[in-house]
Symmetry: C2
């Protein structure tokens, strides 16, 4: 019997590739087994169940994106940092739609993925350092920033913007301009 050399890591990586190729919903234990030329049951020695596979995939994606974002942020500040971070985020979603989708699944508290999620929050906060916002405005701004980036990317991916001729890239840049403006001049009160 040929041993293929399965490990949780190799399975997760293959799942990520599969997700990008055919979509997250088609990432199944069977499909993954097929890709390795083994039987479905063999995978259960390495992963707990199908959900576990998806959580690992989410953690992988969150980590990868965090690495890229950290690299993009190095040596930048202010709007420069904001734009670099935002573009990294959006580009990752475009290059790796399956992994991006995986990032959105509900992560129970205290999985490995929670750690990666915290890295993201810290980076977003780092961007805001250039804008000198005091708490609790800083937290509010972190939430708005994250929301806008995530929302834009996810609506773009869902095709929400394709019914209008205005180039999606142009709106993206103006959205970043707007975010920069609002962060520089965060409303102190209504």
């Amino acid at each position: 019997m040929a041993r293929v050399g399965l490990t949780a890591e190799r399975l997760t990586l293959a799942a990520a590739e599969l997700a990008d190729e055919v979509g997250l919903e088609k990432v199944t234990v069977s499909a993954l087994a097929r890709r390795f030329g083994v039987k479905d049951a063999s995978l259960y020695a390495h992963i707990k169940n199908a959900r576990d596979l998806r959580v690992r995939l989410a953690a992988l994606a969150l980590d990868q994106l965090a690495d890229r974002a950290a690299a993009a942020l190095a040596g930048r500040a202010g709007k420069d940092a904001l734009v670099a971070f935002a573009n990294t985020y959006r580009d990752y979603a475009k290059q790796h739609p399956g992994r991006y989708a995986a990032m959105q699944i509900d992560l129970d508290p205290e999985t490995a993925a929670a750690t990666a999620a915290r890295r993201h929050a810290e980076m977003t906060r780092a961007i805001l350092r250039g804008y000198k916002l005091a708490e609790p405005a800083q937290t509010d701004a972190v939430r708005m920033l994250h929301s806008t980036l995530h929302g834009y990317v996810s609506l773009e991916k869902a095709g929400g913007f394709r019914h209008h001729p205005r180039p999606v890239d142009a709106s993206w840049l103006r959205t970043l301009d707007a975010l920069d403006a609002i962060l520089r001049n965060w409303p102190t009160d209504t």
Copy 2:
């Protein structure tokens, strides 16, 4: 043989309730049949397949939300309209998590749901009338606005904000303040 009186409409509504109760991913043809006390196969006289069921569900949700948003918008303008619209959107997502999730599924061009989606776009545009933005800034602003609302609601639902003590409602209000501010003073150039 007892006839239950199935129709596509009743099935869609039941699917919506099921989605809100147990989550969209558990809305299955079998589960729905079980809820009506009939066999799975019987449903296929009313719906094309499982995907069709979900698309109908998405259309239902989009329509419901559009109705509520239209009602909320009646007689309001400017920030008032913005806040009413945003709160309607967020409240709907909280009251009907399953339906909200259904709204996010990929709608192929030219389903009935596309029509409902257009209603949403028009309403967002109506809100912006109070802010007197010329094209293409208006389109950019529509996209940003929609992105921020959707992103906030979806991150909140995914639990992305629960790791921090700052009340989520407070950040929401400040986010709306920020959106209002940026719309009143949309950046003309970088």
